[in-house]
């Protein structure tokens, strides 16, 4: 890399992070406001009616809910940024523990699903865009549309019917069979990696099988958006000026299509694929419910049902921060790949 290349990348990174700060603040403010929409305060809402009023007031005071709202806001921001998220109301687990214990599961699912989405979405999108208005194109588009229209839980339902009941090939619940879970040593909490570290191939296979259905289901649904995007991008890049100029120099058609049209078509895909992460995180909640996958989404639903506002607030805060972090990362990757981005 030339020196200017490195410098521009670094400048971009710093600017980008600086820009993320107001976004984080706004998101955190939103979470704060959201949680205050509930009547009274979290503690009242969770425990009102179950516990004598005096106790509630004492707990409110301890938790600081009777202080002026501005003070609470500042406290919340401080806590959020230092990841001091408090303890859950119902089972008193520190929220940070909830995140670390279950975060890896969601991470594993999301990454695997992302991989599936990109592979399926990009390949079908490229084929559809290249051979426009042929059966390949129409078929690819229809596939993308219908698969996106199928809710994750419906696909999960079908998957259960077919793969578990009918064919008995794949498990539909949990991350691993009970025997494996018991013997697993948790280094990273990412089961696939942990089993490899331990060198236990049987356990690896077991975890892998458990991951297939949830990851493929979620990934396929997400691929629908990518198919559409890649296709349209490719149709535009094929008409690009530089494509015509390459042809004028006698560059072979295959090289023109793959090297110029495809590559340029995929550049904006990276950004959108990153934004799909928002879709994925939402979808992960549903997938985890459907397949009993013990991730953060699963926990969130549990705590929502128990009206455990503190846990819910903490989990959502982490989600918000994660989304911003990922978006910065995506922009960085984009800047690395497309030299023009760094200078804008």
């Amino acid at each position: 890399m030339t020196r200017t290349h490195e410098n521009s990348l670094r400048t971009y990174l710093l600017t980008r992070i600086a820009l993320a700060v107001p976004t984080v603040l706004i998101l955190l403010t939103m979470v704060f406001l959201l949680m205050r929409v509930a009547p009274g305060n979290p503690i009242q809402a969770a425990l009102g009616g179950h516990v004598p009023q005096a106790q509630i007031q004492a707990r409110e005071h301890r938790a600081g809910y009777d202080r002026p709202i501005l003070t609470q806001y500042v406290e919340y921001l401080k806590d959020a940024l230092t990841l001091n998220l408090g303890d859950s109301l119902t089972d008193h687990t520190p929220v940070t523990t909830i995140i670390t214990d279950n975060g890896a599961a969601t991470l594993e699912l999301t990454i695997a699903a992302f991989f599936v989405a990109v592979v399926v979405g990009v390949s079908i999108g490229l084929v559809a865009g290249r051979w426009r208005d042929t059966p390949w194109d129409v078929g690819g588009r229809m596939f993308g549309i219908v698969i996106y229209a199928a809710p994750v839980f419906f696909l999960g339902f079908l998957a259960q019917l077919v793969f578990a009941d009918l064919l008995g090939w794949l498990p539909v619940s949990g991350r691993a069979s009970p025997e494996v879970t018991a013997t697993l040593s948790q280094h990273t909490h990412l089961f696939l990696i942990d089993t490899l570290i331990d060198g236990d191939l049987n356990a690896f296979w077991d975890c892998f099988l458990h991951l297939i259905l949830p990851a493929v289901t979620l990934g396929l649904v997400t691929s629908g958006v990518l198919i559409r995007l890649v296709r349209v991008n490719l149709m535009q890049t094929m008409k690009g000026d530089y494509v015509e100029a390459a042809r004028a120099r006698g560059v072979g058609e295959r090289r023109v299509v793959i090297h110029h049209a495809f590559r340029n078509a995929l550049v904006p895909v990276i950004t959108v694929a990153g934004l799909q992460l928002a879709l994925l995180l939402g979808g992960a909640i549903l997938t985890e419910e459907t397949f009993n996958w013990p991730g953060i989404g699963f926990q969130l639903v549990r705590y929502l049902n128990e009206r455990d506002y503190i846990a819910v607030q903490g989990i959502i805060t982490v989600f918000a921060l994660a989304v911003v972090a990922v978006s910065v990362l995506i922009d960085l990757v984009n800047a690395f790949i497309d030299p023009r981005v760094r200078y804008s």
């Binding site: 820009l19 993320a20 976004t23 706004i26 998101l27 939103m30 959201l34 949680m35 929409v37 509930a38 009547p39 809402a45 208005d133 129409v138 588009r141 219908v146 996106y148 229209a149 199928a150 809710p151 839980f153 419906f154 999960g156 339902f157 079908l158 259960q160 019917l161 578990a164 009941d165 559409r228 349209v232 991008n233 149709m235 535009q236 904006p268 950004t271 959108v272 990153g274 934004l275 928002a278 879709l279 995180l281 939402g282 979808g283 909640i285 549903l286 419910e289 459907t290 639903v301 929502l304 049902n305 819910v312 959502i316 989600f319 918000a320 989304v323 911003v324 978006s327 995506i330 922009d331």
Partner: protein, 335 residues
């Protein structure tokens, strides 16, 4: 924050002559003319989408007449319905664990979905589009502030947002249709805002707008005549795709138990959730039919959106042309 969020290939501003010739309702006339002159693949996509949506609209509107039973009805004429019975003559789609008729629930469910979605999309639109128009045209601090808020909202996983809003509102408003509708409305406002605002900004700098300003046109005229009709070309596409998303969100809320309550109305997502435990026992009809209904309706809306986009969007619109025959005779021949 990256500003990607546009539907890929959203229409670029139309040429000024076209605008001048068809001002006012003429803009809509031109839209319709373009749609009717469509051919080939986009035409079929649009028409099949419209057909599907119309089908469900009819189901929704005439549900009381079409559905054999009520959505929570578990007996008829003194006879209880069988529990979890497979499809048969009496119950075309079978019955659920609560002895309700699946077919009826699917039909009534159509009404629920359409109701909520139309209300939500309408309100999202009514708030998002004017805000976008204003923000894009006026610019300055108002614009910057709004953009920051909308971007943040937009970045949030919308299902998560909807769940949290529905959950929080359920204490105030009670769970049900209104809560779900409000949650979905809020979540989709940023979409309209962004698309409209970005478009307004690009149109604002067009030479013909500048010319109009130079000629002394009032701000209201400029926004109303030039900007508005250019911009609303995009809104139908966004609206249909949003309707599709809204149904998925509503079904997701129903699946998680935060949407419509079973006593209020039938909802497809809720039905699929109940059916998941059935799957283990090999009972397929309780989940398959509501699920397929979701897929079909969402596909319908999406097809309409994609079809419209293909037809209206000059960037990807393309007409089939025939290679011409060049006559062998030279034009030097005497006439």
């Amino acid at each position: 924050m990256s500003s990607i969020g546009e539907i890929p290939g959203t229409a670029a501003p139309q040429s000024p002559e076209a605008e001048i010739k068809t001002e006012g309702p003429g803009g809509v006339r031109r839209l319709i003319r373009q749609i009717r002159s469509a051919r080939g693949v986009p035409k079929w996509i649009l028409y099949s989408g419209i057909a599907i949506v119309l089908f469900f609209l009819i189901l929704a509107i005439f549900a009381p007449l079409i559905a054999p039973y009520g959505f929570a009805q578990s007996s008829s004429g003194g006879v209880d319905f069988p529990k979890q019975a497979p499809p048969s003559g009496a119950h075309l789609f079978g019955t659920t664990v609560q002895s309700t008729d699946v077919l009826s629930r699917v039909i009534w469910g159509a009404r629920t979905e359409i109701e909520v979605v139309i209300v939500a999309v309408f309100f999202s639109l009514s708030i998002g589009v004017p805000l976008g128009l204003l923000s894009g045209y006026v610019g300055g601090k108002l614009d910057r502030g709004l953009v920051l808020v909308m971007d943040a909202l937009f970045a949030f996983p919308y299902l998560l947002l909807a769940i949290v809003i529905a959950f929080l509102l359920s204490d105030k408003l009670g769970q049900g249709i209104i809560t779900a509708a409000v949650a979905i409305t809020i979540v989709y406002i940023p979409q309209y805002f962004r698309v409209v605002r970005n478009h307004v900004i690009s149109v604002r700098e067009e030479p013909y707008v500048e010319a109009a300003r130079a000629l002394g046109a009032k701000r209201r005229t400029i926004i109303g005549r030039y900007v508005f009709f250019n911009v609303i070309q995009n809104v139908p596409v966004v609206a249909t795709l949003n309707a599709a998303d809204a149904i998925l969100t509503l079904a997701a809320l129903g699946f998680l138990g935060y949407g419509i309550q079973p006593t209020q109305a039938a909802e497809w997502g809720y039905d699929v959730q109940r059916a998941i435990s059935d799957a283990g026992a090999g009972i397929w009809w309780t989940g398959l039919f509501p699920g397929l209904a979701i897929v079909l309706l969402v596909t319908g809306f999406t097809l309409v959106g994609e079809g419209l986009n293909d037809i209206l969007n000059p960037l990807i619109r393309y007409r089939r042309v025939r290679k011409p025959e060049i006559p062998g005779a030279s034009p030097e021949a005497d006439k």
